[in-house]
Amino acid sequence: MTPSAADRMATMMRALAEVVLPAIDPANSLAVEQARLVLGHLAVLSGQGDEARLDALELASEQDLARQLLALPAGGPLSAAALANLATALAQSADGLLAASARRTVLRRALEELMRAASDDGSDSLRATSWRLGLAHARAQADRARVWYAAAGFESEPQISIPEMLNALEQARRPEELRL
């Protein structure tokens, strides 16, 4: 029987809160502060669940954005090069042999480069559409991440729980799009 990550984190948190923290010399302010922060981190982690589910959804969303941008006319040489780079990154992002995080990083870097190049010499269409789509994508991605990290305490109470959010997003996509 394999103990779940949630069970293991719950035991760690209890040990920290009930045994380790009370044993720390209160005069050691850094140790007290850091033990509390570790406890906070574990609480955030224990509420998040399967990170791979979120990674699959984020990757699919970034691939959508890349496909839409690749359909646009480039404009000058910087934008043409950035679009070619994005096409390569999109192809790499489908390579199941690479780690999901590495595929996302390559794709996001190419998207970031395109946003810059479009400003330098992009066609009117590329400039306007990359702005509109990029902003909409950033908004949706930030909103998902805010739910994911809400327990860190930088947010007011989120409108939706993590499982509800993941379920809703997964239902909106085809299963084959979410394979990592």
Binding site: S29, V32, A142
Partner: protein, 378 residues
């Protein structure tokens, strides 16, 4: 020459220094005995070899610099002092020499701790550090209990808001009123080559930080940079910009109900006063009052803050410039939390790695705020 090369030379040097520490091994927080020995080295080099260092203890809090309090005993007299020292990497890379110079320049202008010593290159302390006198006071009323990081959404309560808000505004106007051209600010340069340079230096500073520190690329960073470059405001009224003026970065005396010190000058530079205004009104530093009105830095509504500042300083506020600096400020917080803090934590280069990795989770809240601002201003 890259477009990022047009930034304040002292800032460029500071950022270049970071590249030199990237490959250092993990950092171990300094013990009191190590700090005592380092302080004695510094004192000897400054001709104060007869002085003794007593009661070194670490100050809690702060995501950036390591801070220690100690007593310097010399000739029968004793003074309590504070040492702020750079870990190899932290939430932000800044200059202790500039901090020392501006604290000296602000003495008599606004309440600041007395500047005592600086080790700009860390040759004596082991890492760059600045030493000031210790000033009493609190960052929030002592009857307020909050688990929040200092200055983030501090609720002063109606009584303390009433007592502090006027001085909070007046002190900012006084900072901006300093005649920096005659002050001894040798390590500062003014962005006066053209009217856009003040804004452009800021964009280049933080674009460079993103380029150096990025862990996970984010297309919104490039989109925001694009908007910033296309909307640079003109600045001819150059002032000393504190750079981090907000709740949590000033001390006040609860008996006298007065500010005793303005702290954390590490982001100081010469630039546009709108930059400090936009920082004060950032969402993360405030909170809504009982009626749901957002209070800038937890002290007063945004419009009241801006109009009170205008009266106190005699300056007119340009709505477009203010919006530009609001975008810049939130963009910068995404970079500081989502890149620099995470990079420092990953490299195990700070005494506060666990806090920095927690702070990096806030980057998404800032990214959402950045989207709001860009949608409003596009």
């Amino acid at each position: 020459m890259s477009r990022l090369d047009d930034l304040e030379p002292a800032i460029a040097r500071t950022l270049a220094r970071k590249a030199l520490v990237r490959d250092l091994p993990p950092y171990t927080p300094k013990a009191a005995a190590e700090i005592e020995a380092a302080l004695l080295r510094l004192l000897a080099a400054r001709g104060r070899g007869s002085a003794a260092v007593r009661n070194v203890r670490r100050l809690a809090g702060g995501a950036s610099k390591e801070q220690f309090v100690f007593d310097l005993v010399e000739g029968g007299a004793s003074e309590t002092m504070v040492l702020r020292m750079d870990p190899p990497e932290s939430a932000v890379e800044t200059s202790r020499l500039r901090e020392y110079q501006v604290i000296r320049a602000m003495a008599g202008v606004v309440p600041v701790p007395p500047a005592r010593f600086v080790d700009a290159d860390g040759s004596l302390l082991g890492r760059p550090g600045v030493i000031t006198g210790f000033i009493g006071g609190v960052t929030k009323p002592s009857d307020v209990t909050s688990a929040r990081i200092s200055g983030l959404g501090t609720d002063f309560g109606p009584l303390w808001r009433g007592r502090l808000k006027e001085e909070f505004v007046t002190r900012l106007a006084q900072i901006h009123g300093l005649d920096w051209r005659t002050a001894d600010l040798a390590d500062f340069q003014a962005p006066d080559a053209d009217p856009l340079q003040a804004a452009r230096w800021q964009v280049n500073w933080w674009a460079r930080v993103w380029q150096d520190d990025v862990v996970e690329p984010l297309p919104i960073i490039a989109l925001a940079e694009r908007w910033l470059r296309e909307n640079l405001p003109q600045t001819t009224d150059l002032v000393v910009v504190h750079g981090d003026y907000r709740a949590g970065n000033f001390l006040f005396d609860e008996q006298a109900a007065r500010m005793t010190a303005i702290l954390d000058w590490e982001l100081v530079h010469i630039g546009d006063f709108h930059e400090d205004l936009s920082w004060v009104v950032q969402g993360i530093f405030g909170h809504p009052d009982d009626a749901g009105v957002h209070l800038a830095s937890g002290l007063l509504p945004r419009d009241a803050f801006l109009s009170d500042y205008s009266k106190a300083s005699g300056r007119s506020i340009d709505a477009k410039a203010l919006h530009f600096y609001e975008v810049l400020g939130v963009w910068k917080t995404v970079i500081l939390s989502g890149a620099t803090s995470l990079r420092a934590a990953r490299n195990a280069h700070s005494h506060q790695d666990v806090l920095l990795s927690l702070l990096s989770m806030a980057a998404h809240r800032f990214a959402a705020e950045l989207c709001d601002l860009l949608e409003r201003g596009a």
